[in-house]
């Protein structure tokens, strides 16, 4: 008898669980049909999970994208990635690059009804300055010595030392309701409150995050009622969602799958040049890579167009400087066009007529592995045998940053990419080429050390004068490009798939999705 009961219980449990699943949620279906225009819902599928909704503690593009629907900063980025005003009506920077003054727009209210004014800005800036747990975005803000309210809608921020990327930092730092910061700071990472065109509704971890139109938004315009963001890591699945209409926008659109969409009139594909540079850093302090001829030979050995075709499925531009073309102060350099003869000659001059064996490191993403294979194939043409070592990200960073001195470093070549805000040329150069940034200190994995370049960078950083900066960055780019501490490969083009009944959604060069005017046509 006991046994029979046990079986029954198990069966019952199974039935129950099936029923529970069946009943758990029914509202996700296609019930919206028949409703009109902006009352509908737009689904945006992205490739990774959102990490946090705390705007002052976010490093990943997707979290930023979602936040930008709900939150706004004093400044912001336009569609080219350059700085523009948002909550600030106007701003000015002092000659010595230490004082930043903002005039604020009036009549703006947070989603919880709090008023946006100088006091609110101060609360936000002080949170970023003081809260120890905000480890990501305090850069720049830790240089602030004082925040002074000049009037209800005017505020001045003073820095200890000049920091040329400060405007970018102000664009990234979005404003939260002061009430939320003071009373419910634990809720910030889960459900932020801002001034943006949409307000937070719900976030089911790993599944979706939904925002809803904020009807009292300070900028007028037609917008869709609801937007749901879904993380969908699998490329094929994302494409499938776009085709079925389950998603109205997918980003990134995997380039390999582009062909599938050809001739599909319901889908529009847009191509945006990005600020993502792809390259192989070469350890310039290690033999034989310390010889510039070897590094140049490597650059001449690689066919950039073939790289873009094979590794990036044809979407991308050659990396023709040390920074991508969308980045501030970019100047085009003379590209190392593929020239096997010249490369071999350079090798011969350097004493390696018969080639040698080298090692390339990279993480385990399939794109990286593809790229490393490409480098391997290309360098084989000039007699250099490349061994590929792909390592899991954590292991890789330990291997690279575990070396305390350049002598300890085992790194020869690293296949990697770099991206920074288009407006932030400092971050696109200093961590990569300044001698202070040599590991473990920062990401100068080329172990590039050029005292001239160091001093130009320092100088550019300490002035507010744009012409001067442009001049300095021109010199920096041409010098480094000739020194070839990298194999310069390409700049990604971002691909976005949008269904043709959608308007007002665009992706900026950093991959952020702007939805402030999102609507159905």
């Amino acid at each position: 008898m006991r046994k029979a009961n046990l079986w029954k219980m198990l069966f019952f449990a199974l039935v129950c669980s099936v029923l529970l699943v069946g009943c758990s949620d029914e509202n996700g279906g296609d019930s919206e049909k028949g409703q009109k225009g902006s009352d509908k819902e737009i689904v945006i599928a992205v490739n990774e999970n959102f990490i946090s909704m705390d705007p002052h503690n976010t490093g990943d593009t997707n979290s930023n994208s979602v936040q930008s629907a709900m939150l706004e900063g004093l400044l912001g980025f336009d569609s080219d990635g350059q700085i523009t005003t948002v909550l600030a009506e106007d701003y000015s920077v002092s000659e010595n690059a230490l004082e930043y003054t903002f005039k604020l727009n009036q009549g703006i209210k947070f989603h919880d009804g709090e008023e946006f004014n100088a006091e609110a800005v101060k609360v936000n800036i002080e949170r970023i300055m003081k809260d120890e747990s905000l480890r990501l975005n305090s850069r720049g803000f830790n240089l602030i010595t004082s925040v002074d309210i000049l009037g209800d809608y005017e505020i001045k921020v003073t820095l200890k030392t000049p920091y040329s990327a400060m405007l970018t930092r102000f664009s990234v730092a979005k404003m939260l309701s002061p009430k939320l910061i003071k009373e419910n700071s634990d809720d910030i990472p889960k459900s932020p409150v801002g001034t943006g065109p949409f307000k937070f509704v719900e976030w089911v971890q790993g599944d979706h995050l939904t925002v809803e139109r904020y009807d009292d938004y300070w900028k007028k315009g037609e917008r869709v009622k609801k937007i749901t963001y879904k993380p969908v890591p699998e490329n094929g699945s994302r494409i499938a969602m776009l085709k079925t209409g389950e998603a109205s926008v997918i980003y990134p659109l995997p380039a390999q799958n582009l062909q599938e969409l050809e001739g599909n009139k319901d889908i529009i594909v847009s191509k945006i040049p990005s600020t993502i540079a792809r390259y192989v850093s070469i350890n310039t302090m290690k033999e034989p890579f310390d010889d510039v001829r070897i590094r140049q030979a490597f650059n001449y050995a690689v066919d950039k167009n073939a790289y873009i075709k094979v590794v990036n499925s044809g979407f991308g531009l050659p990396l023709d400087s040390v920074i991508p073309s969308k980045t501030l102060y970019y100047v085009k350099q003379d590209v190392y066009e593929q020239n096997i003869e010249k490369a071999k000659e350079l090798l011969k001059e350097a004493g390696f007529e018969n080639g040698f064996t080298a090692e390339i490191w990279g993480n385990t993403n399939s794109d990286t592995m593809k790229g490393m294979q490409f480098i391997q194939q290309q360098l084989k043409e000039i007699g250099v045998t490349v061994e590929i070592k792909s390592m899991e990200e954590g292991t890789l960073s330990d291997e690279i940053f575990g070396a305390q001195t350049p002598e300890e470093a085992k790194l020869q070549m690293w296949y990697v990419s770099w991206s920074s805000y288009a407006s932030d040329v400092t971050n696109a150069t200093k961590p990569l080429f300044h001698s202070e940034s040599i590991p473990p200190n920062s990401a100068n994995t080329a172990y590039y050390k050029n005292t001239e370049v160091d001093s130009w960078m320092n100088e550019a950083n300490s002035t507010g004068d744009a012409t001067k900066q442009a001049e300095l960055y021109e010199k920096i780019q041409s010098t480094i490009y000739k020194d070839a501490p990298w194999i310069f490969l390409g700049v990604d083009e971002l691909l976005v798939g949008t269904r043709s009944d959608i308007e007002g959604i665009y992706v900026d060069p950093t991959g952020g999705i702007n939805v402030s005017d999102a609507n159905f046509k």
Binding site: G236, P254, I388
Partner: protein, 298 residues
């Protein structure tokens, strides 16, 4: 009772000619048609594994950026991959890697798992508890984490893939064998052997082990398939052979981005894996019918 003994029970049936065990196996196995056919396929694979590199029509590593992702044609009978490499040549050359990695890892896992399983089931008590609980712990550890750890300690490479995959299978084998051992232990002949004072080692491997063989064989063949797929996931995670190696699993995983556009890149190694796993399973079933003492005389 007047009579106490019985008529001598001798061998039941004497075959007309005495076959050697190998010959007898061969005769029986030949009658298992599908299994026989599948084993011919595996034999073919083994031959390819040996001579593959010399019969491949193209250099499996040589890229041709002007001929990427081409479908099957008379020039490239299985098409080309994202670098324009000949997929047919890569599959031929990859046979050796795929076969050796999967079989050796399963065998390694099976040997260790079986020994642990028999000891656990046979001795019971604290030994059983330790072995089974450790296998619980191993199970609770997701394979991937284990793989990362193993490779982190040993470094990437094919040998470590073998170790990682065999580590996955040890607890499965141990539990399976323990289950059959528990049952076999209840059999009279085991108790008989025990009471006659046979040494443990002899009882375990002479009496109990044969009882576990049938399920073991089925499981080994299944695991070979699983191992091919597991090794391919590891390759995909970058923890396997270096990415240029024409390992089928790696080809399949690397090619999955092209499923919608150039499906042959995924299909061809996929079919190779499918057929190989199929062949191993069919051969396993056939072997089971022939080798298993319980099904033998039918």
């Amino acid at each position: 009772m007047e009579f106490t003994s019985t008529v001598t029970e001798k061998k039941q049936v004497v075959p007309k000619k005495k076959y050697s065990p190998v010959r007898e196996f061969w005769v029986n196995f030949k009658h298992q048609k599908t299994a026989f056919f599948a084993s011919m396929f595996i034999l073919l694979l083994i031959i390819i594994a040996i001579i593959g590199p010399s019969i491949a029509p193209y250099d499996p590593y040589k890229p041709d950026y002007d001929a990427t992702l081409q479908g099957p044609s008379s020039e490239h009978i299985l098409g080309t991959d994202e670098y324009g490499r000949d997929i047919f040549s890569r599959i031929l050359v990859g046979t050796r890697i795929t076969l050796s990695v999967s079989t050796s890892s399963v065998l390694l896992g099976a040997i260790v798992g079986t020994v642990l399983g028999i000891m656990s089931g046979y001795f019971g008590g604290w030994l059983d508890r330790i072995i089974m609980r450790s296998s619980d712990v191993m199970f609770a550890f997701p394979d991937l984490l284990l793989a990362i750890a193993i490779v982190a300690v040993l470094g990437p490479g094919l040998n470590n893939v073998i170790i990682a995959v065999s580590v996955f299978s040890v607890p499965s084998f141990a539990r399976l064998v323990r289950g059959s051992t528990l049952e076999a232990k209840e059999n009279t002949f085991v108790e008989a052997a025990k009471s006659m004072g046979a040494p443990h080692k002899r009882i375990m491997f002479k009496h109990i082990f044969p009882e576990t063989v049938s399920s073991l064989i089925v499981f080994v063949t299944m695991r070979i398939g699983t191992a091919i797929i597991a090794a391919s996931s590891l390759s995909f995670l970058g923890l396997g052979a270096s990415p240029e190696t024409p390992d089928w699993g790696a080809m399949l995983s690397m090619g999955r981005d092209y499923l919608g556009t150039a499906s042959h890149v995924v299909m061809m190694p996929g079919i190779a894996i499918f057929l190989t796993v199929l062949a191993f399973n069919l051969v396993g079933d056939g072997l089971r019918d022939v080798l298993d003492p319980k099904t033998k005389n039918e």
